[in-house]
Symmetry: C2
Subunit: 309 residues, 2 copies
């Protein structure tokens, strides 16, 4: 479905602002609480948090993150899921979201309805109330930016900092060919896995793999260290090679550092009891920069997704 | 300063993503806490809230909210201030903000620096840490969307709902000609005033005037009522007429309903002791729909700002 209407009668501007806001509330349905706890006042009112909170923001933009070939329901769901993946990466669970929309005047009303219905279905599934938003008009633009608020699922959040030399590096699922396989729309954010991992003190640092492992791993690597990855150890998606696994991006898997002293076999058993269908792979460890094994992947030969290019 | 660079060497893409993120942290300076409490992890970690929270989101978009004639510092400040005005309208005070940027590849680095420095100066002034954000690239777009989190400044928040027939309608400051006068960039969000008003139980409902009083008042009007405004009572900005005051928009003033039984003279004295330099005007009252005075402004003859047109 093309996001821009052929007949101007099908456009958001022909429909008008007041009717559109009413329609959006209908499309969101149970995912949208009543004002002042949802859309309809100057701000939305949220309940007090019980502990530290987490906040993240990510967009989807026409021509960048999706095109006319993508079903609008998948676009709406992906907008929420990519933010949920950021929350999962710290061991968080969601509490509320707000949405800022920028619409070309020709944006098609049927497209927008399907976008919102996809977002609403995903919001109900992951229990994220959509509490507010804004709609602005700009020529040639169709973009949505979602800010997600959450909290630690357990007693702590896991940051990207904390890995030490000798720690093992693990990744969930498989990597590579996310765009070619449709995984970048079909993925399930690793919320349960992230919460479970954050409950394990031997998990020292964690992040999600969104720009490609070769680039993302840099943020997890402790000072004076390098990731030492064995080329054969990487879990590949069907059809993916080493380069795809390291550089394609949009994997939305978790990568984490496990303390060197951990009983790896016991850890793997506990994981598989809790997540029998989610692959977990030890892909290497953090080595001293000057002590990399000659067989290790030369990560400097690979680069991940650049957001500005 | 034009936001798009003439020489590609001055563009954000020539600079690159990693260097840009480092530069943004420098430009934000003290307005940007360190990760995990600020930019640099999958999410930002925020302290637990002490009570109910408020959340709102508003953008600034090139070609819609600003053009090349506007100093980029003013654009950055306005982005935060228009969100602060929404918070003020409920009696809130800010706690944190996140920023989603969409940049054309030719966006000029000097323009972006001034935008961030304007945002940072404003963030320090109003004590709003900028805790996170996202940068995406899209051709022909220069847009920034800010999500603002806050809390009630006192024991309650004031919503748009709660006015009753007979209540007086008050407005702060003067109205009209906001764009022509530059007020839409120079304004100060009415945070102190909003907090003070929320502390008065006789203030029954409140909102900010952003789309023009004629349109905005509809959201404050109780069922079976109409706003009865005396044409001579409206506080006009220099050069503004009645139409300008009712329809121009971007006033960023507060409009509120004061309970009918209130001692108006005592209320006005208390206001002027606290805010000696901020005008407060009783512009009318909410009348029964079928009992409007013949001299009252016919609001249906005026319309405010339409976000989609």
């Amino acid at each position: 479905m093309h996001p821009f209407a052929k007949k101007s009668a099908d456009s958001v501007t022909a429909f008008g602002e007041a009717k559109l806001i009413t329609a959006i509330r209908r499309w969101l349905g149970a995912a949208s609480p009543r004002a002042p706890f949802g859309i309809g006042d100057d701000c939305a009112v949220l309940p007090a948090s019980r502990g530290p909170q987490l906040i993240t923001v990510d967009p989807v933009i026409f021509g960048r993150h999706f095109d006319a070939a993508v079903p609008p329901r998948a676009v709406g769901a992906k907008l929420l899921k990519r933010n949920l993946s950021d929350l999962a990466a710290m061991g968080g669970c969601p509490s509320a979201a707000v949405l800022a929309l920028t619409l070309d005047p020709h944006t098609s009303l049927p497209w927008l309805e399907q976008f919102y219905r996809g977002l609403a279905t995903c919001a109900r599934r992951y229990r994220v109330p959509i509490v507010g938003g804004d709609i602005a008009q700009a020529d040639g633009v169709l973009a949505a930016s979602l800010t997600l608020l959450g909290a630690a699922a357990g007693p702590r959040v896991v940051t990207r900092t904390g890995a030490r030399i000798g720690d093992s590096i693990y990744v969930t699922g498989v990597l590579g060919r996310s765009l070619a396989s449709g995984h970048h729309f079909a993925f399930h954010p690793r919320l349960a896995e992230g919460a479970w991992l954050a409950g394990r003190p031997e998990v020292r640092a964690m992040m999600d793999v969104s720009d490609g492992l070769a680039k993302d791993l840099g943020a997890l690597t402790p000072p004076h260290a390098k990731p030492s990855l064995e080329p054969g150890a990487l879990p590949l998606r069907r059809g993916a090679d080493l380069r795809a696994a390291l550089t394609d991006g949009e994997d939305y898997e978790l990568v984490f550092a496990l303390a060197a002293h951990t009983d790896a076999a016991a850890f793997a058993r506990a994981w598989h009891r809790r997540f029998p269908r989610t692959r977990l792979t030890n892909i290497g460890h953090f080595a001293r920069s000057n002590a990399l094994s000659p067989s290790a992947v030369r990560l400097e030969d690979f680069s991940g997704y650049e957001h500005l290019r």
